[in-house]
């Protein structure tokens, strides 16, 4: 069973064992508009929780993506290089950004669950 959590910076994290898959939420993808470029962290790099880990660019602007949880990067979604539009088409599925081997499980527990994130977005 995987667990899904969200940040107030509009990233999502899906946890399977100690591997966390990270992407941006549908709300974020819709606010950005058409994604034309994604810069992902290199495999093997260690990212700290809350540190900038990726960049997502629309026609208009570049936005930073922060790692909601820290750890070693185990995979990056290479498909986004050729098809950045996947981020808009399926932000919480095929449009995932990268995976980390999570170093601190406690950080995950502090993130918003789906209901809390929905409430948070409503208030924006």
């Amino acid at each position: 069973m995987s667990e899904l959590r969200f940040t107030d910076q509009h990233e999502w994290v899906r946890l399977d064992g100690d591997e966390a898959t990270i992407g941006i939420t549908r709300y974020a993808a819709e606010s950005l508009g058409d994604v034309v470029f994604v810069e992902l962290p290199a495999k093997g790099r260690t990212v700290g929780a809350g540190a900038q880990a990726a960049v997502v660019e629309s026609v208009k602007a570049a936005s930073e993506v922060y790692a909601p949880v820290g750890g070693e990067v185990t995979a990056a979604n290479a498909a986004l290089e050729a098809e950045p539009a996947k981020v808009n088409a399926d932000p919480e599925g095929e449009g995932w950004f990268f995976k980390v081997k999570m170093s601190d499980k406690a950080a995950f527990g502090k993130l918003m669950d789906e209901a809390a994130y929905k409430e948070f977005v409503k208030g924006l």
């Binding site: 508009g33 058409d34 629309s58 026609v59 950045p84």
Partner: protein, 375 residues
Amino acid sequence: MSDEVLKKTPLYDLHISLGGKMVPFAGYEMPVQYPAGILKEHLHTRAEAGLFDVSHMGQAFLSGDTAALERVTPADITGIPEGMQRYGLLLNDAGGIKDDFMTMRLKGEDALYLVVNASMKDSDFAYIAERLKGAATLKPAPDRALLALQGPKAADVLERHATGVSNLTFMQAIRINVAGAPAIVSRTGYTGEDGFEISIEGRDAEKVARALLGEKEVLPIGLGARDSLRLEAGLCLYGHDMDEATDPVEANLVWSLGKRRKEAKDFPGADRITKNLANGPAKKRVGLRPEGRAPAREGSEIVKDGVVVGQVTSGGFGPSLNGPLAMGYVRGDLATPGTKVELMVRGKALAAEVVAMPFVPNQYKRPAKKTGAAT
């Protein structure tokens, strides 16, 4: 954010009803995009036709001794033929660019019709009025709206609502009714496509806009696509690609200087501009194509052999190019197309090349060349 009250154009309610995403721009609440999104809006304008609300721009009429406008611009104003418009630069005394603007001489009219940038209109109008005092009178027309209809289908579409407009060629202008409303129509735009700008009374704006949007070829287009379209067309955005510290030679806009004016050297900053014309400027505006897909945004440093040689002034992703593109200033000796440079993006050096502009060929309807005369 300032708590300045944003102004609305006469099409504000229409933008809302079309799902426009409104943002502050030059003191106005303007649509940055509609539900189609910037990418589709951009590509649709190049394939069919797009309608832009540019009512935030400054419109004015200049009457009296209109030749006095040459006191503030190096453009050939007196030489504008009837029924034509001309692009010009508004200069300060040092030859720095205060703004760029269009001047039209409508058939049978003594007054000139001017269009300046939204963000600069108050200061432009005050400057022109002051410098032309006693000779000519500038009357701003804040109650007028301005629409742009751009794209390869623009002429077909507009012809249905204004019989005869498709006979105009690039930079021609006339008074004509559009969808029953009295208008000033010029064959020009800011996208590199064929197209028209349509000046009408604010009270007629929604009627005219709805008539054009009712045509199957036309989508409403926001400021986001307006920016990506003009960048692909190699056109400057004031305050970004040129400002008061930049002169026309540096900005690579020498073509906008009248021949007679260059010979007479009778415009503001003539010393500096004449010197730059003769010796070449220390920096020059160029087009840049980064390799790969990462865009280099405004403010990115341009580097050659480890030395900073300039800065990106507009940069992003070109939907028609399907890749990144930028405009910026480089040291004068590096301005030749083909020159390899690097653009600093998030601490990394991206390989890029100086290229000729426009990035996407323009589609202006220029008059057919006269044939017959022996060479």
